[in-house]
Symmetry: C2
Subunit: 414 residues, 2 copies
């Protein structure tokens, strides 16, 4: 994989030029994407900014995020060849920082569950997950050092775990969702994929214009970690729990204070209302597509939107009240239980075999609904070469702390 910080260091001391780094990314895509299928289209060769804290960084951009110079097709024939007028603000920000939004990456149609043809670079017989399939796979395959994705259920944290890369779903709206195709305006969150935690932290700090998010160079401290097993949903695979235990033990060895944490029943309720909020909003957000191109929608999404039309407004309103209460209660969990971060599963197990399913988001939905920062840390690789990851979660707005704890665990795991 390509480390953003490593590339920047080599550019900084003259071993590499920004232009050379972008050329290398182009070559990596040309050579490495054939069997993975993460990249949809690449910018024609052109001038490369030499200045800026992300100069020389090639970025993969999920194809539901608007780019003025590359088509944005939402993973759907309905948008074949569609060229937005403007860059999404997060893309404009990348350019201001000197990065090159080089390629559009595959997305499931409208970021829902119908799979892409993209393969998992760790084991081509398995899914990379979704919906940010191409962004996770492109980083895992070493095609680009940084990629943008989005998460409404588990579309960043889950594919990052499946592909063995670091994924960050920041605090809600830390990165603007303007110019990003909406599925659910209460949930959609722009996130990042990178090789290592420090790479992701640097990218997020720059994109969000909040230097404090970047990891402190020195001692990460002794974070108090609460391990959550999410017993409000169906149990995970044995090896996923083993990876969680291994990450917790590593953190403890590194000086963290680790203990089990049980969430109050309200969080089970919040978990259950996530799909109600998501789908009620999707039925509105995709109303034009549904009303005018229903037959062109892929089967899982079409069926979901068929059902979503029947969700009563009262169920949505009451779901939003549950979510509001749970968000406030989560503050108390952190404060009263005295934990700095939560450590939990990133996915129920390794990437499923085949490309028919992008996997299950049940270990992600609650945290997307809570709007809190989440980081995937790769832990180990199973007998099939498939990665298992864990998820580090902090309070809303405390993205730097989630990343610092994630780095501590990453280091402790070696």
């Amino acid at each position: 994989m390509l480390s953003l910080l490593d590339l920047r260091a080599r550019i900084g001391d003259g071993r590499l030029t920004a232009e050379g780094a972008i050329t290398q990314a182009r070559e990596a895509i040309a050579a490495g994407d054939r069997e993975v299928g993460a990249i949809l289209r690449t910018l024609p060769p052109g001038p490369v900014p030499a200045e800026g804290p992300l100069a020389g960084i090639a970025v993969g951009v999920k194809d539901i995020i608007d780019t003025a110079d590359l088509a944005t097709e939402m993973g759907s024939a309905i948008y074949a060849g569609w060229r937005p007028r403007a860059d999404a603000p997060v893309v404009a920000r990348l350019r201001r920082l000197g990065a090159v939004p080089l390629a559009k990456t595959t997305t499931t149609a409208f970021a829902f569950l119908d799979p892409t043809p993209t393969r998992n670079p760790r084991n081509l017989a398995h899914t990379p997950g979704g919906s940010s399939a191409g962004s996770a796979a492109a980083v895992a395959a070493g095609l680009v050092p940084l990629a943008l994705g989005t998460q409404t259920g588990g579309s960043v944290i889950r594919p990052a775990a499946f592909c063995g890369v670091v994924g960050v779903k920041p605090s809600f709206r830390l990165l603007p969702t303007v110019g990003v195709k909406t599925y659910s305006w209460a949930l959609d969150t722009v996130g990042l994929f990178a090789a290592r935690v420090a790479d992701a932290a640097r990218a997020l700090a720059l994109l969000a214009a909040r230097p404090a998010i970047d990891l402190p160079a020195g001692d990460p401290g002794q974070p108090r970690i609460g391990v959550v097993r999410q017993d409000f949903c169906a149990p995970p695979a044995r090896e996923a729990l083993a990876a969680l235990d291994r990450a917790a033990a590593a953190a403890e060895r590194a000086g963290a204070r680790v203990r089990d944490l049980a969430l109050p029943p309200l969080f089970g309720e919040a978990f259950a209302v996530h799909p109600v909020i998501q789908d009620y909003e999707a039925a509105q957000a995709l109303a034009w597509e549904y009303d005018t191109h229903r037959d062109a929608l892929p089967p899982l999404l079409r069926a979901q939107l068929d059902a979503a039309r029947e969700i009563p407004t009262e169920a949505y309103d009451s779901g939003r009240r549950v979510a509001h209460r749970a968000r406030r209660s989560l503050k108390d969990v952190f404060a009263e239980d005295g934990v700095d971060v939560i450590l939990t599963l990133a996915a129920p197990g390794p990437a499923p075999e085949g490309l028919a399913s992008t996997g299950d988001a049940r270990f992600n939905r609650l945290w997307t609904l809570m709007g809190v920062p989440c980081v995937t840390v790769p832990v180990e690789t199973d007998a099939n070469g498939l990665p298992l990851g864990v998820q580090v979660i902090a309070r809303f707005g405390d993205d730097g702390r989630a990343l610092a704890a994630a780095r501590l665990i990453e280091r402790a795991l070696g």
Copy 2:
């Protein structure tokens, strides 16, 4: 003006067809818009839905709201001829209800302060206000019975007051802002213009799929009204205060319990941070336009975005915390002070003379930031034929109560 309910009643009992109603709107635009300049473009003649609760209702759509069948130019040459791929969900919803989104209405560029050439139908020498200039003017001139606008500072409530129509800025995100050009994602709110309060209530209840928003047919009850004079900002014109007193007295005669209400100092703080939040987000939301077409931006917006780049992230984050505290405190104001609705000014005075300024949003900003439902009720007309209106405000999510109190005042004023 055209009453939505009146048109619907005539269609319901066969005195008018839906198609006939749309033809009348076309004729009204052809005859009446020449001197007002509210309409940018109109749908070519085509089939008119005969079914649906809004069949026969021609709607004006502010030109920052995406329409698949009509250009959407954001009030800016940068988007000349721009055709979005999809309808905004609020437009798709209008179609589902049987309405015809017939015409795009003028907007200031990107819904900021640079004026449009639109004139106030009540007195052509005056501004109709902004940024939803064309939507307010189109309803005031009797061109359409319903129009969509948006408010980030005071872009619905103020032009409604200036033009003597009913304006509704609903609870934040009651109507989705998807497919609406973003200025500030924390503030942008889709709103409505109609002839009378009952027209607006019917339209909002249908668009939001919440029948309870529509006014109860019977007794509006005896709402407890708190009159707020907003002494945290510069004082209004004498005639605006007189209109407020007149509306309060009318409400009292109609059985409402009316008393003065002073807001805690926190609301002055919240008022002061509104522009910080708005402009910090605008600098991101319009980054592509600023970075690639700065010279094509109109002067007020260009200067605002120049300045907005310098807003420190810390000021934005701290402003959001103030807003959050004020929103919670506002719940207490309603609960502890025992008021059902707040009655306050809609604008500092009548529409300014000339077209150089769209007027001042200082009596609107706080309420947009609070996310609470606001309704403009026209009160009287001054010696220049210019209307003066007041604003009725309820708790977040209590849009029906704001509309019920607004109707009581409208009736009491005769």
